[in-house]
Each structure stands twice: as C-alpha cells, then as structure tokens.
C-alpha cells in the first residue's frame, strides 16, 4: 500500500474532505518553499525576538528543587512570551506564512483562549481579519481571554455544537475553512490535524528545545535527564522534546489531563485511555467508544480538554521514546498553587499538569539529575476558575 503523506509511523495522514485538499497542498508547497528561505527566517526570528520576547528564560527553580529534595529543576519560561504562552511561537510563523501566501484572513480554534489570543494578536500586527471559534463552555470558563481577543479586533464565535469545547471548535473551524478558502488561512493551534499542520506547528515550536538545549549546556555543561511538558494536542510538548529526541539519555515525559481520573469517564487522557482512530484529519489516538464515536472528554483545563493527541506523540508513544502520564484536576490545582507560593510563578493550569508530575517524580531522583519543566503559559487566565474550584467566588 503506498504510504500517504505526512506519516509518523502509522499515524498522521490527510483525512479531510476533497474540498480542502488543494488548500492543504498549497499550504504544504508554500511551507516547503519558505521554511528554508533566509528572508522568511530572518523576519520570523526578528518577530520572535523583538515582538514576542524570545529567547525565553531557562530558570533554575532553586526553592522548588530544595523543597522537593531530588532532581535539579529548571523551568523553561514560555509564560514570559508576549501574550503569555508558547502559542505565539507557532502563530507568528503561520501568520507570516499566510501573509506570504497572500491570505488576508485568519481563522483559529481555541480552548483556553491562549491560541485565540495569540492569533488575534498576530492578525492585529499584520493587519489581517481574524475569527476565533471557541466552545461555549470555554468562553465561560475563560472569559478574560474572550475579552482580550475582542480587544485585539477579532470576532469570537461561541460554538454550541457537541460538547461545546475544544474539539467542537476545531470541527467548526474545518467547516468554516471549507466555506471560505481563497482568502483564509486556518491557523491551527497544535501539532494535530491533517498534514502538513503537525509538521509546521512542530517546526515553529521546536524553538523551545533549540533554546533550552543551548541554555542547559551553558548552565550545566550537559543535557538534562528529564524533559516534562503538558500535553493537549501536544504542541508545547513536541516543541520541548524535539531537539532531544535523538539524545537517548534524555527522558521525555508528556503530561496528559486525567480530569477526575483515568478510571472515570471524566478524563481527557488520550494516550492513557484512548485507542487508535481517525479524526480531525489525522490518524492517532483518540478517546472514543467501541463504535468509534468520539468521547465527550473533560478536564479542568480548557487547553487540555481534547479527545486526541498529535500523530508524532502517538508515534513516540508506540516506539517508547516518550512516556505519557496522566495528572488529575486535583493534582494540577495543587501544583498551580504550589508553584505560585514556592517560586512566585503562577503557571497556566495546563502547565500545572507538568509541574504536578514533576512534584511526584523529582523527589524520587538523585540530586545530580537535571529536569526541565516547560511552563507553557501563565496562569492569570485561570485564577477565577481555580478560585471557583476551591469554593471561592471572585469577580474578574
């Protein structure tokens, strides 16, 4: 059987309606042209450095290290990027590409709102039109980000179909894209969807590990033993892993959202509870029932509340190169509070899933081990929801 394009082992591919095929091919051709174009890369680097504030710091978390009493912990501070998360890395790349392709309108899905905010930001910067699709449930739990997107000039469309969360926002974006292709680029927010998106988004997020590798070599003179990142679709995780994949001594750990627990139905831990399937343009692991109906997933974190995972992660899981663990709401909220009090850093609730696993793992490791945790975003957007979780009502 001839292998279709964009495969990661048996995962990936291009499972999309014929209506979108030429748009996807056009995108792939444009990307292949620009990815090695010195002018494009110069522009992108300038944007990342001067506008988004890269490189992001690799910060030694001294108090946390001491408190946990094991491995030496570094935090890769994607929360310090402009717009407050790693999402801007991908968005600046895709928006620049879209502009070169002559597109004048960006559409995007968003869960936590961080990708939507990043896309609205890039659209404002490049003078493009922007429409963000967001599950109705998420517009309520991430109200602050809805306001930010509108402030940046984007239209925010609340999606009421299905579970009214991230997966439905992705579906709605795909529907919108089939309706209007000529002037519109679908700025997909994670390493998922049909080829070439998983590759494009991974390449734009790989800046995280490119920097962290140089930074840890400079600070420690060696590579880390562990790299941890939270994993929804998996963009910050693949970006954090990418330049270590070939380095066999580096353990790569993706932290999925277990929601109320992987033995309950209220979970979003795809690798831990899902099985192989085809959805949203790709073959990968999905939470689904015995007939292939996509499961209504749940997590306190809107950004991890997705029933699938990017195909490259599915491959890294199959090969055993990366490990995927599940972290519950309760553990993530504890970690959210812990990092705030211990290091004075309020992480996104998504990133807190990685912190939570580090809190379990680090104390079991000797002091000479080095661990990098990616803090994919900052937690301001989550304060109201976490307060609610703790039974407190605050007015935003």
């Amino acid at each position: 059987m001839p292998e279709s394009k964009g495969r990661f082992g048996r995962h990936g591919g291009q499972y999309i309606p014929e209506t979108l095929m030429n748009a996807i091919i056009e995108l792939e051709e444009a990307y292949n042209h620009y990815k090695d174009d010195p002018e494009f890369n110069k522009e992108l680097t300038e944007l990342l450095n001067d506008y988004a504030g890269r490189p992001s710091n690799l910060y030694f978390a001294k108090k946390m290290t001491k408190d946990l009493g094991g491995a030496k912990i570094y935090l890769k501070r994607e929360d310090l990027n402009h717009t407050g998360s790693h999402k801007i890395n991908n968005v600046l790349g895709q928006a620049l590409l879209a502009k070169k392709m002559g597109k004048t309108r960006l559409i995007a899905e968003t869960g936590a709102g961080q990708h939507g905010v990043a896309t609205a930001t890039a659209a404002a910067l490049f003078g493009m039109e922007c429409v963000v699709f967001m599950g109705k449930v998420d517009t309520e739990r991430q109200a602050l980000n809805v306001y930010r997107m509108k402030l940046l000039g984007a239209d925010v469309v609340p999606v009421t179909s299905g579970t009214a969360t991230l997966k439905d926002a992705v579906s709605e974006c795909m529907r919108e894209w089939t309706t209007r292709i000529d002037d519109t680029h679908y700025c997909l927010g994670s390493v998922m969807g049909p080829h070439p998106f998983p590759t494009i988004v991974r390449d734009f997020q790989a800046v995280i590990s490119r920097e962290s590798k140089a930074q840890v070599l400079e600070k420690e003179g060696r590579l880390p033993d562990y790299v941890l990142a939270c994993c929804g679709g998996g963009s910050n995780a693949i970006g954090s892993f990418y330049h270590y994949i070939e380095e066999e001594g580096v353990n790569l750990i993706g932290c999925e959202a277990a929601g109320r627990g992987i033995d309950t139905f209220e979970t979003a831990a795809t690798i831990n509870t899902g099985r192989i399937g085809i959805f949203h343009g790709m073959k990968s692991y999905f939470c689904q029932d015995e007939y292939g109906q996509i499961a209504p997933v749940y997590s306190i974190s809107a950004g991890l509340d997705y029933p699938g995972i990017g195909p490259e992660h599915a491959m890294l899981h199959d090969s055993g190169r990366a490990q995927y663990v599940a972290v519950t709401d309760e553990e993530a909220v504890n970690a959210f509070e812990y990092l705030s009090k211990t290091e004075g850093i309020i992480p996104a609730i998504e990133s807190a899933h990685a912190v939570a696993h580090a809190m379990k793992l680090a104390p079991t490791l000797p002091k000479d081990k080095i661990m990098i945790i990616t803090i994919s975003g900052r937690g301001d957007k989550d304060c109201a929801a976490i307060a609610r979780y703790r039974g407190e009502n605050i007015n935003e």
Binding site: S161, R175, T179
Partner: protein
C-alpha cells in the same frame, strides 16, 4: 457493472439521503421503503458520527439525536438486513459515514458485514484520494464501491480522481458543508465536462439542493441529483410520521428530474 452503476441506467437518478436512527431505526426503515416506492434510484444511508465535520447543522443535529436514541453501527447493519430480506428493498444502497466509524470497527469486519447485509458501496467524506487505498482495496474484495468525491476546488485533481472512481462520482455542488442553499453558483457543467473527459462513471450532484426547480436544473448537467438536508429536515419535523412525507417529497423530486 456494479449495482450502483446500474442505478444510473434508467434516466436521471434521484438519490435521497437519510440519517439512520433519527428518530429511530424503524422510522428510518419505513422512510427507505417509501423512497423506493417514490422512485429513488439509489439510497444513501448515513451512519451517525458524533463529530461530522463535513456536515451542516441539519445533518449534524440529526446524527446527534440518532446517537442519543441509541443508534449503533451494528443496529444499522441489522436494519439493512431487514430491508433486504423482509421489507422488499431492492434499490442499491450505500453507506455515508466518517472514516473513524469504519476504521474503529475494523475496515475488513465493517466491509464484510455491510456487504452481507446488502450494502453496495460507501461514501467517506473525510477520506480523500490520497488516503483511499487503505479502504478501497478491502471494499473491492467485498464488492463495495468506494464513492469518490469531487469538489468545486478540485480543478486539476479531477482527472486523477475520476480515473479511479467506481460506482458513481459524487460532485459537491458548493463550497462548505451540507445544508440547504438558496443558490448554487459553481460552474457545474464545466466540472462535469472535466469528469467526462477522464471517466465514464456516472456523476451525481449533491450539497445544497432542496427544491424541485434546483434538482431539475442540476439534473441537466449530470446523471443524478443527491438530496440530504431537505429530507433530514422533514424527518426532524414529522418524527415517526415522516415516512409518508418523505415519500411525497421524493416523488416530487423524481418527477422534477424525469
């Protein structure tokens, strides 16, 4: 020649679509019987999927109602078997569903059961030409046609797709998702001409068609006309009483394209 191709031999073909299991499978089966009586040449049976990304609100909502009401792939197979063995349905029938419904059931197991039940082909809107081999080879082994779709954006892809098409070719009339449209602006005749240059496989046009006038107009450039949302809407409106209304509607469309 496959049963599906034969459906296009007696003049213009009217091809109705229905979402299985909305409001229940008994009603779906009765609707299918009425469709045959009214002169449908080929019937598309939608197996509901939780997240139908090529569907507009009408079919999406029907799919969710059907799943909510307990419709499953196995129950649809059973309904098809009954239509063939007990209810006298002889017109060709094809499944229209999403890749994951087939893949997660096991492509081989799905095709075997579909074929045994009396299905003639499959339409998978999220399986484009580039991904079809995984499904097509197995379909062929079980005598099922995997229907190819051609869109207004297909352009230079048309010849490649048409050359490997079997059964019929589904020409998507408009950009966007399924749903009733007041106006169809795509240059259908030129798409059909490109298809004809590459293949003898019959062409049917679908997406957005709802009125006899639209059907009449579309049928002039192709071998058949497909209607989904307008029928699914009738089912939503009349529920268990839908079969009679669906029959009348199909008759009006069949007459319009004669």
């Amino acid at each position: 020649m496959s049963n599906i191709a034969k459906a296009f031999e007696n003049g213009k073909a009217f091809v109705p679509f229905i979402t299985c299991g909305d409001p229940d499978l008994e009603t779906t089966a009765k609707c299918v019987v009425e469709m045959q009586k009214a002169g449908a040449a080929l019937i598309e049976l939608g197996i509901p999927f939780s997240d139908p990304t090529a569907e507009g609100p009408v079919i999406m909502e029907a799919s969710l109602r059907a799943l909510e009401a307990g419709c499953t792939t196995d129950k649809v197979f059973e309904m098809v078997r009954k239509l063939r063995t007990e209810m006298g349905v002889t017109v060709p029938m094809v499944f229209m569903t999403y890749a994951n419904v087939v893949f997660s059931y096991g492509i081989e197991r799905f095709c075997q059961k579909a074929s045994e039940a009396g299905i003639d082909g499959m339409i998978l809107p999220d399986v484009p030409f580039e991904e079809k081999d995984e499904f097509d080879g197995i379909c062929k082994n079980y005598g099922l046609d995997l229907i190819s779709l051609i869109a207004p954006t297909s352009e230079e892809r048309i010849a490649m797709i048409a050359k490997e098409a079997s059964g019929f070719i589904y020409i998507v009339s408009s950009l966007g998702v399924t749903g009733v449209r007041s106006e169809i602006t795509t240059d259908i005749p030129s798409i059909v001409a490109s298809v004809r240059a590459a293949s003898d496989t019959p062409c049917a046009i679908g997406f957005g068609i709802s009125t006899p006038e639209q059907a009449q107009k579309m049928s002039q450039s192709a071998d058949g006309v497909i209607v989904g949302s307008a029928i699914v809407k009738l089912v939503a409106q009349y529920g268990k009483d839908a079969p009679e209304h669906v029959g009348e509607y199909v008759k009006s469309m069949v007459d319009a394209i004669k």
